[in-house]
Amino acid sequence: MKTTKQNGLSRRDFMVAAGAAGVTTLASPTVLRAAGSPIKIGMPTILSGRVAILGETASVGAKMAVDAFNAAGGIDGRMVELVIRDSKGKPDEAAKVTRDLLSSDGCAFILNGEASGGTFAVHEVVRDTKTYCMHTISETSSLTADPANRAPWVFRSARQGIHDAISGGLYAANLAKAGATRWATCSPDYAYGRSTTSEFMEFLAVFAPEVKLVGETWPKIFQPDYTENITNLLNVAPDALYSCLWGGDLVAFFDQASLYGLFDQFQTVAVNMGDVPVLEAIKNLPGGIHSGNRYHKDIPDVEANENWNTEFRKSGQLPTNWAWQTYTGAQFVLNALKDTGGDTDYQKLADATRGRTIDSPFGVNGTVTMREADNTLVDYAIGYGQTVPQPPYLTGFEPTAWDVIVDYETDWKKRNSFL
């Protein structure tokens, strides 16, 4: 009956990080350029509210990478320091925090641990101030796919929505073939929710043309009460439901929807379900929810992933999708920094990041690549399965091959004239 983890340790760590940042606020940061002083990386992420749990795991992931880097001697003895700040998940706050990190705290660049809402705000700041930046969380496709948004010195080490849409579309087409042709959606009403949902439905229609969209409902992000959305879905009575709600929102939605027996009535594809902390937090977890893989110690089923999982759990937290993504982002950033010899010039760092392939526990072939054409991550493990309330949490996992994904992605880009 007792719920969700508590972790005093990590919170104290945040305070220390924040404290160190504050001291430099007063000391006026511009002075601190002397050799030997640590290179500071600013990381805005969500540390309060519904999705704080994810922000904390992202922080742990970033710190794992940084600690390992420092333990290995840093850049010829020069250390790297993370300054982590709470953005509360609000775009304006994320923009403010990012500017503060750069101007008040003297951070050299940004490892962005913000969700999509805040990421677009952070993106504006780093574009405006010409700051090297790695987005580690936002999956919204247009962030890197749309040339209008692109900045050559900004990268993404997160999944991309379109990849999950292709993978999910292929997977869901099987559900459609089995008779689930009337679909409804229930996703958060903001950039990520809207684009991810429409991309999923787009590809579902590609793979299963018989599918019809019969209803949609758009709760606000962090909405406390989903009753009206739930009953709306009941009235529509679809064969299957798609939702990209995530974090605490997904938990609250499931708890409330279970009261209405919603999941007894149709199949559900909830792409963000497959993170262990989310699964554990849902009290009335119905069986057989279809989900994308988020982070799973057996996907890919390699020793490096197993080891990483063990290492991560030492922090007292459970690894999440955010955790591996931020860890990966930090790895790219640190590798680039090593290459430039500690030079934080945005163009030099960008050159050292673009097109790079690194060894990774999360890659399908043991590596992941920062694709040169659009500065986004590829070759990470991706696929769909069904959730179960106990370990191993995700069963019947069907991976999607990257050549398939890339083919459809290219078509999609053409359709949207992104190429």
């Binding site: 305070m15 304006d92 923009a95 003297g106 950039a191």
Partner: protein, 350 residues
């Protein structure tokens, strides 16, 4: 002193103030102070313009952030619109600023015409409702406003008069100019005959009406002016962030503006500015030790309310006034008198 000379002298002081601010910008080597001050300029105008209503006219508006956001959004949406920058070139930013000012003025006038008929808590709630309606509109009209996401993609700010607003220093200088201009307007309004009329309405609206003044018009005019200046603050923030967000119109922004006024001092002209700085300082200093900035702010506010029982600057002025005994001039009304009045009205009402 001659009344036109007072205006001239005040304007001169503003010019000197601006010169000092620009000098700081030129001398200061980094970006920290300049960016911090640019942010303070934006909140400064929001708070000072609200003070014109709350402090000078006795109108407690809970929805002042609506005009702040309106300024930022009009400015941003205009510059992002197809062809605007191409057509206006170097004039784009000044013209967008002007349009934002006038557009916000029109919006404030519209809301003012409706709200000014109500008094006290009803007025407060109505302004709040309009603000929340604006938030709903911003969130609903996704194709124009970007919805929850705010104005993304950056606001183009072409160079003008040799100022490139993407550069920290240039941006700071232009923001400082807008801030001092806004501040000067507010100051001149409070010093003018209209300013005296505002204080009449605050002190005793019934009596003011009995002197043949249409107090409804006074309130609408004050509301409009205050809205415009708040809009100017929004323009500064839009220039600074190269974006605009629906949270700017949120009630947290309106609320915080009121609290900064109260914290700094409701009854002195510069009190609210002090409130802005103090709030920011509490925030930044607390961050050195803990992330629990809200706790520190809460305790500071409780101290001010329950111990000082008035804003910081009011308290300082009162202490000085009591020491010196007597010698109050036009604007330096001691807050004791006002506190008494407030109590008086409250007693009479209940």
């Amino acid at each position: 002193m001659n009344s036109t000379r007072i205006f001239a002298r005040t304007s001169l002081m503003a010019v000197i103030g601006l010169a000092v601010l620009i000098l700081i910008g030129v001398i200061y080597p980094g970006t920290w102070l300049l960016d911090t001050m640019t942010g303070l300029f934006a909140s400064g105008l929001l708070v000072m313009s609200l003070h014109l209503l709350v402090g000078y006219t006795g109108l407690v508006s809970f929805g002042h952030a609506a005009y702040f956001a309106s300024g930022g959004y009009i400015f941003g949406m205009l510059l992002q619109a197809d062809g605007v920058v191409a057509a206006l070139g170097g004039w784009a930013v000044p013209i967008a600023t002007l349009v934002a000012l006038l557009g916000t003025g029109g919006f404030a006038l519209f809301v003012g015409l409706i709200c000014a008929r109500l008094s006290e808590i009803y007025f407060a709630f109505l302004t709040l409702a309009f603000q929340m309606l604006l938030v709903s509109a911003i969130q609903g009209l996704v194709q124009y406003t970007g919805g929850d996401q705010g104005l993304t993609g950056g606001i183009p700010r072409p160079e003008f008069l040799g100022l490139n607003l993407v550069e920290v220093k240039d941006r700071y200088v232009f923001s400082a100019f807008l801030f001092m201009a806004g501040l000067l307007v507010i100051r001149l309004v409070t010093l003018s005959s209209f300013g005296a009329t505002l204080r009449m309405v605050r002190d005793n609206e019934t009596r003011t009406a009995f002197l043949g003044i249409n107090t409804y018009r006074v309130k609408v005019a004050a509301f409009t002016i205050a809205g415009m200046i708040a809009g100017l603050g929004g323009v500064i923030l839009a220039i600074f962030t190269s974006a605009a967000y629906p949270e700017w119109a949120g009630w947290a922004v309106s609320g915080e503006a009121i609290f900064m006024i109260m914290l700094g001092g409701l009854h002195s002209f510069y009190g609210p500015l002090l409130g802005v700085v103090v709030m920011r300082a509490i925030n930044d200093i607390t961050l050195i030790y803990t992330t629990h900035t809200d706790l520190a702010k809460g305790i500071a506010i409780l101290f001010v309310v329950l111990v000082l029982r008035r804003g910081i600057l009011d308290w300082i002025l009162d202490v000085r006034a009591t020491r010196r005994k007597r010698g109050t001039s036009g604007d330096q009304i001691t807050s004791q008198a006002l506190t008494k009045t407030a109590k008086g009205t409250k007693d009479a009402a209940s």
